[in-house]
C-alpha cells in the first residue's frame, strides 16, 4: 500500500511537472508576442530579398544575417533581466515546481527561437554565399550555416540565461557590457589568428567531403556540453535564488 501510494504520488508529481512545463513554455512564447516575432521575420525577408537581388556586399550580407539570426536568440535571455528588474523572477521561483522545470522551459524556448533565427541565417547563406564561394551546393551551405548558427546561438542564449539568473542585476549592468565587448574582441582576434579570412575557411570546409560532418559533430558535442553546464548552473541559481534588492516594485 505504501509503495503504491508512493508510486501514485510520484506519478502525480510527474504529471504536474509536465503540465507546469508546458504552461511555462506557452508563457515563454506568449510574452515575446507576435509583434516581435513578425518584426524579426520581416528583417529576415528583407535580408533574403537583398541577397537574392545581388545588391549587397559580403559585409552587408554578414551584417544582415547576423542581425536577423541574433535578434531572435537574444529574446529569451533579455527577458530574464526584465524579470529580475520587475520582480517577476521572484514570482516564478516561488511556484510549486522544480528548478529543472523552470530552467528547462526557458532553455527550450531559447533553443526554439535560436532555431528560428538559424533558419533565416541558413536560408540567406544558401542564397547568397554560393556565388561568392564558387562551385558549392547551396543546400550544403545552407545546412551548415543553419547548424553552426543554431548550435552557437543556442549555447550562447542558454549560457546567457544561466549567468543572468545567477548574478544580481547591478553586477550584470555594471560588468556585463564590458565583459561582452571584451569577449567579442578576443573571439574575433582568436578566430582571425586561427582561421584567417571567413570566406577562405568556408571554401576549404565546403571543398572537403568530411569536414562539414566533422565540424557538425564537434559543434553538437560542444553545444551539448555548454547546455548541460548552463542548465546545472541555472538550476542551482534558481534553487538558491534570493529576492532582488534592486528589483522595481509595480
Amino acid at each position: 500500500m505504501g509503495a503504491l501510494s508512493l508510486e501514485s504520488s510520484t506519478m502525480r508529481w510527474g504529471r504536474m511537472n509536465r503540465r507546469a512545463f508546458l504552461n511555462l513554455l506557452s508563457i515563454e512564447y506568449r510574452r515575446y508576442g507576435p509583434r516581435k516575432t513578425s518584426l524579426v521575420l520581416m528583417l529576415g525577408v528583407v535580408s533574403v530579398a537583398l541577397v537574392a537581388s545581388g545588391n549587397t556586399t559580403l559585409n552587408g550580407l554578414a551584417f544582415l544575417l547576423a542581425t536577423a539570426g541574433t535578434s531572435l536568440f537574444m529574446l529569451v535571455p533579455a527577458t530574464v533581466l526584465k524579470d529580475k528588474m520587475s520582480g517577476t523572477m521572484d514570482f516564478l521561483v516561488s511556484l510549486p515546481t522544480t528548478a529543472s522545470v523552470l530552467v528547462g522551459a526557458r532553455f527550450t524556448a531559447a533553443i526554439f527561437f535560436a532555431a528560428a533565427g538559424a533558419v533565416l541565417v541558413g536560408t540567406a547563406a544558401g542564397l547568397g554565399l554560393p556565388p561568392l564561394l564558387g562551385p558549392v551546393e547551396p543546400v550544403r551551405v545552407a545546412g551548415l550555416a543553419f547548424l553552426v548558427t543554431w548550435a552557437t546561438t543556442s549555447a550562447l542564449a542558454c549560457a546567457a540565461i544561466a549567468l543572468l539568473i545567477r548574478f544580481n542585476v547591478s553586477a550584470l549592468v555594471t560588468y556585463g557590457p564590458l565583459i561582452f565587448v571584451a569577449a567579442v574582441f578576443v573571439a574575433a582576434y582568436i578566430y582571425e589568428r586561427l582561421f584567417g579570412h571567413p570566406l577562405d575557411l568556408i571554401r576549404a570546409v565546403m571543398a572537403s567531403e568530411r569536414a562539414p560532418y566533422v565540424i557538425g559533430a564537434i559543434l553538437i558535442l560542444a553545444t551539448a556540453g555548454v547546455l548541460v553546464a548552463s542548465f546545472l548552473l541555472a538550476r542551482r541559481a534558481v534553487e538558491n535564488y534570493l529576492p532582488q534588492p534592486d528589483s522595481i516594485d509595480w
Binding site: 502525480r12 508529481w13 504536474m16 503540465r19 507546469a20 508546458l22 504552461n23 508563457i27 510574452r31 520587475s86 520582480g87 517577476t88 521572484d90 514570482f91 516561488s94 511556484l95 510549486p96 515546481t97 522544480t98 528548478a99 538558491n240 534570493l242 516594485d249 509595480w250
Partner: protein
C-alpha cells in the same frame, strides 16, 4: 475536495541579516487554528511567514511543516500552502483570468468552480490586467490565488495593511466565510492592524524587534485583562516599552 491537515513547528528558528536579527523562536501551530502574528514593521512577522511557506532557505533552527523540515519539501510542499504575499507578483500583461489559469497548472487540488465563486465574492473583474489593478484589487486577487486550491495551510502576509477600511471589511468577511472556525485548516496571518486580529484570530503571537513577546489565545488575553477589547490589550502589550 478534502484537504489533509497540516501542523507547523518552529524549533530555534531565527535569522541573522546585516540589518536585522530574528532571535530564535519556538512555536507549535496546530491544524484548525487561526493564528495572528502581530507587531510593528520590522518585528520579524514576514520573515517567519516566508520561512513557513518554504520561501526562505537561509535560517537557523528548524521549520517543520507536517513534521518534516520545510526546506527538504520544497518545491512540492508549496502546492499545499496558500500564500498571500505582501505584494502581488505576476505578469502584469496578463488578465486576472489568465493569471489564475496560469497558476492552476501548478496546484493539483485547484478547484475552478471554487475559484469562480471566490472571484464573485470579492467582486474582481476577471478581464482586468494585473498591471492596472489597484492595491485593494491586487490583494483580492492574491487571496483568490492563495485560496482557490483550498490549502490546508493558508498564510496571509499583511492582507489588509494598505487597503481602505471598506475593502478591508469586505476581505476579512470573505476570509471568515471561506475558512470557518472549527475546521481542520490552519490559517496564519500577520497584521499590525489590531482590529483585524480581533475579528479573525483565535490565537495571537506577539513579536517585537525580532523577538517573540507572547503567545496566547484571544480568550486567555481577554480573561487576563478582564474583558477589555482585544485591540486595546494588544496595543498596550506591543507598545509598552516603545
Amino acid at each position: 475536495m478534502t484537504t489533509t491537515a497540516l501542523s507547523v513547528r518552529l524549533a530555534g528558528f531565527g535569522v541573522r541579516y546585516p540589518q536585522f536579527r530574528l532571535h530564535p523562536i519556538d512555536l507549535e501551530l496546530r491544524a484548525g487554528e487561526r493564528v495572528a502574528l502581530v507587531g510593528a514593521n520590522g518585528a520579524g512577522k514576514s520573515t517567519t511567514l516566508k520561512a513557513i511557506a518554504g520561501r526562505l532557505h537561509d535560517y537557523e533552527g528548524r521549520v517543520e511543516v507536517a513534521s518534516r523540515e520545510v526546506r527538504e519539501q520544497v518545491p512540492g510542499i508549496r502546492a499545499r500552502i496558500g500564500f498571500l504575499p505582501e505584494q502581488l507578483l505576476g505578469f502584469k500583461w496578463m488578465t486576472v483570468a489568465e493569471h489564475l489559469r496560469f497558476l492552476s497548472a501548478f496546484f493539483p487540488t485547484w478547484d475552478d468552480d471554487y475559484m469562480h465563486e471566490l472571484l464573485g465574492r470579492v467582486a474582481l473583474p476577471s478581464a482586468s490586467r494585473l498591471g492596472t489593478l489597484s492595491k485593494g484589487m491586487a490583494v483580492k486577487l492574491s487571496f483568490v490565488a492563495a485560496e482557490a486550491h483550498r490549502p490546508p495551510l493558508l498564510i496571509l502576509d499583511e492582507p489588509t495593511s494598505a487597503i481602505d477600511p471598506l475593502m478591508r471589511g469586505e476581505l476579512l468577511g470573505v476570509i471568515d466565510e471561506c475558512v470557518p472556525r472549527g475546521g481542520d485548516r490552519l490559517v496564519l496571518f500577520s497584521s499590525h492592524i489590531l482590529e483585524d486580529v480581533e475579528r479573525i484570530a483565535d490565537r495571537v503571537i506577539m513579536m517585537r524587534r525580532g523577538r517573540l513577546l507572547g503567545d496566547m489565545t484571544t480568550r486567555e488575553l481577554q480573561e487576563r485583562d478582564h474583558g477589555s477589547p482585544l485591540s486595546r490589550i494588544l496595543y498596550d502589550a506591543l507598545g509598552s516599552d516603545e
